[in-house]
Amino acid sequence: MSATRAPVSRPARADERVAAVGLWRRLLVKPELGSLIGAVVIFAFFSIQSSVFRSLSGVANWLDVASTLGIMAVAVALLMIGGHFDLSAGVMTGTTALTVGIVATELDQNIWVAIAASLVLALAIGFTNGWLVTRTGLPSFIITLGTFLMLQGLNLGLTKLFTGTVIVRGIADAPGFHSAQLVLASRVSLFGQDFRIAILWWLLATAVASWVLLRTRFGNWVFATGGDEVASRNVGVPAARTTITLFMTTAAAAWLVGSITAVRLTSVQANTGTGQELIYIVAAVIGGCLLTGGFGSAIGASLGALVFGMTQQGIVYLNWDADWFYFFLGAMLLLAVLSNRLVRRYAEAARR
């Protein structure tokens, strides 16, 4: 947008100035603006101080951290725009990874069969979450807290039952493992540096989510359901179906991340993913999602995940104590919430 306006030599007429203000305002209402600024600032901060951070291998490293987080953050952002939370999203990455592992090793199945079984399970959990939320009208926060705790218990209990330990091992021995590794856990060489293929999945997820949100009917329904569910139902939006689809999308994202984790590490801890759910929500909020629903962006959530990845690795490269990571996180969340509020207020007031 700004590129096409750049060559204007001098804003001579009054009209020109009005247009410029309009453009500025239009930028400000973009939910992802805050996270873009945040990402640039964080990048500058760490790359000035650490040469490893700005080196290609450093970039590959923090992009990798951001990638699996980003896939989840994007799905969680869609759900938040649709007006709901999913506290079971974190533990579900563990559930899906463990399912891949247990079906492949303990039930001696082809890895692709295990991955497919894991998808079916994930979609069923997502459907249950969504169905319970739409059926009962209870806050999704409390419903998914319930499924979160149940899944946490199941993850540990079933892993112990099948393996006798809290780890599922030996996924690499499953038939079909090499093709799964190629798709989910290989590396792609670019400028002489190996990048994890998960980064590609992350970019794809962001692009698809963004397209769906902004360019399809379903995207319109997501914004509307999150903005005012009763009103959208009254004009004919299938609000319940939209909500259930969003929960299933989040579950599918957890499945993708879980499968990537299982294939990459070839062993899965029973507590995988627990506690991550809040980080997804924080990334989405940094990306401009309102906690009240109806506003936000997939690209913003991705940038939020990027901020996370950079901070986490940056602190390591600077040899700081890892505890500072959480301080940073909290500070960033507060900043994001405050700036979201200010930006929105300004944008709305200016348009009156």
């Binding site: 399809t216 319109n220 329904w221 914004f223 009103a231 139902r233 009254n234 004009v235 004919g236 939006v237």
Partner: protein, 269 residues
């Protein structure tokens, strides 16, 4: 019920027979009957809490009636969801407008009925058409929006009302229902809305116009259904009722006289 107003000689578009609605122990509506004919305006009048909004929510599929029958083209219908009423050609402007404040005007305009282009998995919301139609339909209502991307929440009350009406007119194939569209408006904008109602009527739509203002109802109405505390105080054709009678009935005749006396007494002492 037996006398049809104006030239509406065929079967009524929409007919209500003894409609009633309970919310738990609250009887919000009881034994309501009236007709809506193509090219006519049926006005529903009543005080606050009389059950006007409840009645239109039954017509638009938000609520299911507890009692009574709803007939569309003479056939009984049972709307389970607003979508079903919309598909039957009944469009509604709700009292709360049913618009999402944070969403752009054009997105709100087509919400629930988005036009699409493309094929298969690449089918997408045809935003160019949506913006174009929004601009055109609002222009027809005399509203010139500079930026259809503007969030609806930043429009004035009157503008928002107009967007909601323009939307309903655009999608209301046969019946257009308006819940108190003039109550929040100034004299001039109310006039614009009334003219719009007349236009929709002339295009052959059946219009249901809810209001508590007899001065707005009388000039455009062909049929008047008066509600009081959930019950019908009568269903009249235009010729059967003068504006004065309508006003008196609306105010509740005796109550008004009583009120006048009550207000006068202290001054008289």
């Amino acid at each position: 019920m037996s006398t049809a107003a104006g030239d509406g000689s065929g079967a009524p578009l929409l007919e209500l027979r003894g409609i009633g609605k309970d919310f738990g122990s609250v009887i919000a509506l009881d034994d309501i009957s009236t007709t809506v004919r193509a090219g006519e305006v049926t006005c529903v009048l009543g005080d606050n809490g009389a059950g006007k909004s409840t009645l239109i929510k039954i017509l638009s599929g938000v609520h299911r009636p507890t009692r009574g029958e709803l007939l569309l083209d003479g056939r009984p219908v049972d709307f389970g969801a607003p979508r079903e009423a919309l598909d039957a050609g009944i469009a509604t402007v709700y009292q709360d407008l049913a618009m999402i404040p944070l969403m752009a005007i054009w997105r709100n305009f087509f919400l629930g009925s988005e036009p699409t282009t493309g094929w298969g998995p690449f089918r997408r919301f045809d935003s160019a058409t949506a913006k174009e139609v929004t601009r055109r339909e609002l222009g027809a209502m005399g509203i010139d929006i500079r930026d259809p991307d503007q969030p609806v929440g930043t429009l004035s009350g009157g503008e928002r009302q107009s967007v909601a009406i323009a939307r309903a007119v655009h999608f209301g194939a046969r019946v257009l229902i308006l819940d108190e569209p003039t109550s929040a408006l100034g004299v001039k904008q109310a006039g614009v809305v009334l003219r719009y109602i007349a236009q929709a009527r002339d295009r052959g739509l059946g219009v249901v116009f809810i209001t508590h203002n007899p001065h707005h109802a009388h000039p455009v109405g062909d049929r008047f259904l008066l509600l009081n505390r959930g019950r019908s105080m009568g269903d009249f054709a235009k010729g059967e009722l003068s504006r004065e009678q309508l006003t008196t009935m609306m105010a509740g005749g005796d109550e008004l006289t009583e009120l006048a006396e009550e207000l006068e007494r202290p001054a008289g002492r």
